[in-house]
Symmetry: C4
Subunit: 215 residues, 4 copies
């Protein structure tokens, strides 16, 4: 990544800090098996206009800071020859829609892939009675029903982004599934986004298990 | 944690030893996936009146001694600005009820969460024929029926503690489930509590598996 | 372990080598979750009359050479104050029955526990079509039916040993299940016993999975 | 491995590089549990006429460069006393059929073993709607049906190779299952073969899971 001799395109210390955090979390998620065959992408918002994001097609288990690039909120690369993944649009969509969101994590675990396929006809996974709702910001009790949205997959990113935008609501669901494609989760920073991601994976896993056990 | 210049509120060597043991076991349990999204809490009794316990909201996979505080048996913090988790009340309840209990471990594994939800209507998980009953203190044969109590969850800790108290019996069951919230297990020290916890997780996992296989 | 000043009760170099091998394999098996709550026991034959075996009640994930004792083929401790586990009788039974057997491994995995309970009424698990039969000594094709014996559990070791003896046959099955109690596997040395153990765990896991999938 | 004093049978630097890559990937696959009881074999094409391949019967979790031999495309050992595994024929078959293929990976995971047994009557596993199709070279969308071939197992390698040859087609499926025996996956180099392997394992696992959940 070359800094132009004029004013730098972004703060390199900020970039380096974001890259280090992304690498740390991504390697853990890869070790859990949630990023098969180079799937998954992870970003942190650097400012109102810029985000640090994983480059497409990299083995997430062997990710390094060199595999992180900077994009603007129109998905254009900044000060780099790397091309962003098509799925970058889903990250910037969330950053533009929610000014307080500071990180977006997209994983592709078996549970997330299957849950999306199974619940796609209903458009959401209906969760009830989990103490772990309290891991999602703003939620304080297990005594509720929580609908995690599911959208159909599409190779047309404009179509996909529009599908996602249509299901986002208040209060913030902190995540959504794409059928056969995995989960997007977000938060004010990467630690909160990770806590949300881990909570969704756990509850989706329990939900599939109970579906097996109840018939 | 500040020691007052008057007589210390507790024995710091004892506290340090308890904190080290809690951290060691908690990190292992986190690595097993039994403490998702900061769930779980773990304590060791320091004396008739005091216990060392994990501070609320910490990532259990990265727990350190700084994340352990001291409380009294009325759930009040001792010599610290940290606030105890609401679930501290479930630990002190067991310490007050059973004077010989020296450690309490609360985990939130998928198996424990699901088993609690599935068996809540029956109020217990009925286990039969496991050789591993012999891992529970006082049990010497597989030829018995063992009922692990299940209580409904509640955000009202007085209500939850009362529900738990009502299901505890003689002989000691060494554990109970809270529906959708996980397992509490205990023993005379943390090694025994851990052996009990591992035995319950194993048997609950087998029970759910056989429920799938038998239909 | 004290060596008497008269002729040593056993060859200490041989003992040390056996203890090291047992510790190495046991720690791996513990890491796989096959030795919950101190379950499991592992031995290597030192001679026609002696075997090195794990001491009862030890955490198998933290096993060290100090946790290995020597017994004779009547289950009596040799040159040690440690008492052998009751299950030692199942190891020496195999050493007495099969002079060529050099190691016995008893694990207690969820798959082995469940398979034993489910197939106990039939007295065996009938396996067909696995390429992995070829991992069992003497077996050269997948085109066969292999019956792995299952015996009912008992706390009376004489009764249990007799049940086992009644199901052993020619050709050697290299393993048997005890209902709700796990698997015993053996071989000419610990590497072969381990290969047999790993093959059984794998095939039993596939068998349970197919039972779920076929209904 | 002895180099003859005349012109060497192969380039030893090339061989050493291939051996190192095979060892690296094989140990990772063993750690995932995909090579039970010495099952599995892995190769890299060194030239039009030669391949480096794992020696038969080795514990894949403890594989070292000494466990890699060189064979020609008629399965004959080159400059070594080691005998190739019978399954070498399946590797060289692919190298002869597809001149651009540079690596072949054969694993034996539970999912691959079960999927082969379950889908053998249909002769293929029909996959639909997976975003992860895009991990397979030449595939650019989830909106398709992908048939992964399944052939019956045989101890007669000529018969087995002929069965495989009959199911290979255009476009390249990059993999096939042998019933009860696992998966063969390939690519232009070992990294691509590995990405294909990981993608198949993931999708087969999802497919079996959905079969359980849909009944």
């Amino acid at each position: 990544m070359n800094a132009p001799t004029s004013a730098p395109a972004f703060d390199h210390n900020l970039y380096a800090g974001c890259a280090a955090q992304i690498v740390s979390h991504t390697r853990e998620l890869a070790a859990k098996g949630w990023t098969p065959a180079t799937a998954g992408n992870f970003s942190i918002r650097m400012s109102a206009d810029l985000a640090a994001i994983t480059i497409s097609g990299k083995d997430k288990g062997r990710l390094s800071e060199a595999d992180i690039m900077v994009v603007d909120m129109d998905n254009r690369p900044v000060a780099t020859h790397h091309r962003p993944s098509a799925e970058t649009a889903l990250h910037t969509h969330l950053y533009r829609r929610y000014p307080d969101v500071g990180a977006v994590l997209h994983t592709h675990s078996p549970t997330q892939t299957i849950a999306g396929l199974l619940y796609a006809p209903e458009g959401r996974v209906r969760l009830k009675g989990y103490e772990l709702f309290k891991a999602l910001r703003g939620h304080t009790t297990h005594e509720k029903t929580f609908d995690l949205p599911v959208v159909p997959n599409s190779q047309d990113m404009d179509e996909l982004t529009a599908s996602v935008d249509a299901v986002l609501s208040e209060p913030n669901t902190w995540g959504y599934l794409i059928a056969g494609h995995g989960l997007y989760a977000w938060g004010k920073d990467i630690s909160e986004a990770r806590r949300h991601l881990d909570a969704f994976e756990f509850m989706l896993g329990c939900e599939l298990e109970m579906r097996r056990l109840r018939g």
